[in-house]
Chain length 346, copies 2
DNA sequence: GTTAGCACTCAACGAGTGCGAGTGCTAACA
DNA sequence: TGTTAGCACTCGCACTCGTTGAGTGCTAAC
């Protein structure tokens, strides 16, 4: 079914690339100029490609536009990865060089960079909880009945949460509980912190059990909450593309973007290092989603991605995501190794 | 200039309210139905109102639409505050009852509530730094050369930042520095933390001065960063309104919303408890901005607001903001008094 | 297999038209 | 003096209809 002749492939590629840049149905004459063939010949080929499901005609006397199948074929077989220009690379590096320390800021910078370079909507998920290890847990007295729990992880990610304790607790007692918590969780996955955990606390000080439970359940729910978080940038860019001239389409797309947890789920769903989902494959209708992974110490941390029209500059997007992903990975790798964070004035 | 007759006021009010709900230029016949007057009489009055600058005509044979001056007059003199319905009040209370502990979540909930109830874009600024007092500053060792600084404030707001120390520092030393930091800053405004501070540290341990400087400058830059932050919800809602059917208008508006720091500035600019800025007054062109203040312990903390078309349901928006503002104030007041944060499962 | 030629299709554009909501003005009325 | 009825006028909007042009499919010839 998929044994296209070499010429068919070339023609298909030419059509797709023309359509991606022009957003107009492409006709046989346009293509014939790049080939030493007449428009009639191209027409015949196009007709065949249409029969095979690679092309579609909006109406009889318009040119052809690529189908989702065509994009799929293009991404898998035809496309060459574009290399980023020097200014683009510099742009990416420039924010890397800042060495901002907070996970949140690194990621929101990444989101901005991606959307700036690609002109599409960017999506960045924070490091996923399941792959993160506890470095330490600290309890800090705030007042007799309230403490702050600070959870530090090996990725430099932090959670700090105030917790109301079931009874007044002295700083010393907190201190000893801190130690206990660290003994229990340091070096382990944060997912091991869950509310119903029947830790071997009883043996130590039975009275503290309830406090432990409170702390764990609060931490767990905080981490749970964290899951649906996602950074989105460049929504306005979307409206610049042809396919969103219809206000209603634009609106429903924006609405979708506001459902952060759904986006997060969809983006995180893919486990491949780098993935392209086109049209129906996304479960979102007429958009494409390209995602890449950033990682540290061999563990995948989170996803960066782009949402755009199916008529997307896949080559460009892929290389931007690849580059930004690598950069992020470097940053996090450094964190993991040395916690070597510095802050520069802006 | 502004001595409108009672009847003129009534007519103006009727026109404004009709236009707010219909978005269509309103004609004399429509209005005459609500008054025991003929359309011709209304026309005469309308003509006068137009001369006075309260009404505008898109073109000769269309009805009239209110000018910005008219909205101003409406808000200042004609409008009655609408009372929220029971379900609306419950909706606001329901999220209050959750008693979520983190400042960030309380605020983003507020933003969501406002935009849900008003159908406009909501804006919430976090408690402004200048009015916040340091409760405590804690240094936590992470590894020999890195520490985590946790800043707790009286509003329950927290900042935690990793800091790379200029040299290795033992936990004990950190501990003593913690104490010193608290001695210096506890109970004072966070704005007193600034990088060039020549604190009376020399006397204590000259060697630690550099570390202090590092910590202060990092904290200061974090807080500085915080300034431009702002939570925005419901951008997609905007596209539902008539005035944004033009994609380009919609896009430039969305672009504006993405410039968080600018929005933050504009929203924070107003010092009044509650304020309505209409059209040109906003400096943003054809939109209106309504803001209210939330506060605790007599101090204004931050702003909540709504951005919408000048044709906005001012009465509804004002009462929603008023209510949400009060609710937020209660939540923060509680924080200030007792740090009484509880976390419930969702 | 390729190409020239030709009839055909159909969206897009623009001019022309009728409609209707709404106005301003005038003259008459209370 | 304020109100009203009547009427001519304006002008956006929706609709129709012919024209245009890009593009197709098909056929016959090379």
């Amino acid at each position: 079914m998929d044994d296209l002749s070499k010429r068919q492939k070339q023609i298909l590629q030419a059509i797709i690339e023309d359509y991606i840049s022009s957003a107009m149905p492409v006709g046989s004459r346009t293509i014939s100029k790049s080939f030493a063939l007449s428009s009639a010949t191209i027409r015949n080929e196009m007709s065949d490609l249409e029969d095979l499901g690679y092309l579609e005609q909006p109406h009889t006397s318009a040119g052809r536009i690529p189908s989702e199948k065509a994009y799929r074929f293009y991404v898998d077989n035809l496309m060459k990865l574009s290399t980023l220009t020097a200014p683009e690379l510099n742009y990416i590096r420039s924010y890397y060089d800042k060495r901002i320390c907070q996970t949140g800021e690194v990621l929101s910078d990444a989101a901005r960079v991606i959307s700036d370079l690609t002109e599409y909507v960017s999506v960045v998920t924070p490091p996923k909880v399941s792959s993160v290890l506890v470095t330490s847990i600290q309890l800090m007295p705030i007042n007799p009945s309230t403490a702050m729990v600070v959870l530090v992880t090996d990725t430099g990610m932090m959670q700090s949460t105030p917790i109301v304790l079931p009874r007044n607790v002295s700083p010393d007692e907190l201190e000893s509980m801190s130690r206990l918590l660290n003994k229990m969780f340091a070096g382990r996955s944060v997912t091991e912190i869950h509310p119903q955990a029947q830790y071997a606390v009883e043996s130590e000080i039975a009275d503290q059990k309830q406090i432990f439970d409170t702390i764990c359940s609060v931490l767990a729910s905080r981490l749970e909450n964290q899951k649906g978080k996602v950074l989105i940038q460049g929504a306005s860019k979307m409206l610049a593309h042809q396919e969103f001239t219809d206000v209603n389409k634009a609106r429903s797309f924006l609405q979708l973007l506001e459902e952060n947890s759904r986006i997060s789920e969809i983006v995180s769903a893919e486990s491949d290092e780098i993935s392209v989902r086109i049209g129906q494959e996304t479960g979102l209708g007429d958009v494409s989603i390209v995602t890449a992974t950033y990682s540290a110490g061999g563990k995948d941390l989170g996803k960066i991605g782009v949402i755009g029209p199916t008529r997307m500059q896949y080559d460009k997007v892929l290389s931007v995501l690849d580059q930004v992903g690598k950069t992020l990975s470097e940053i996090f790798a450094e964190n993991v190794k040395t916690e070597d964070d510095t802050v520069e004035e802006e």
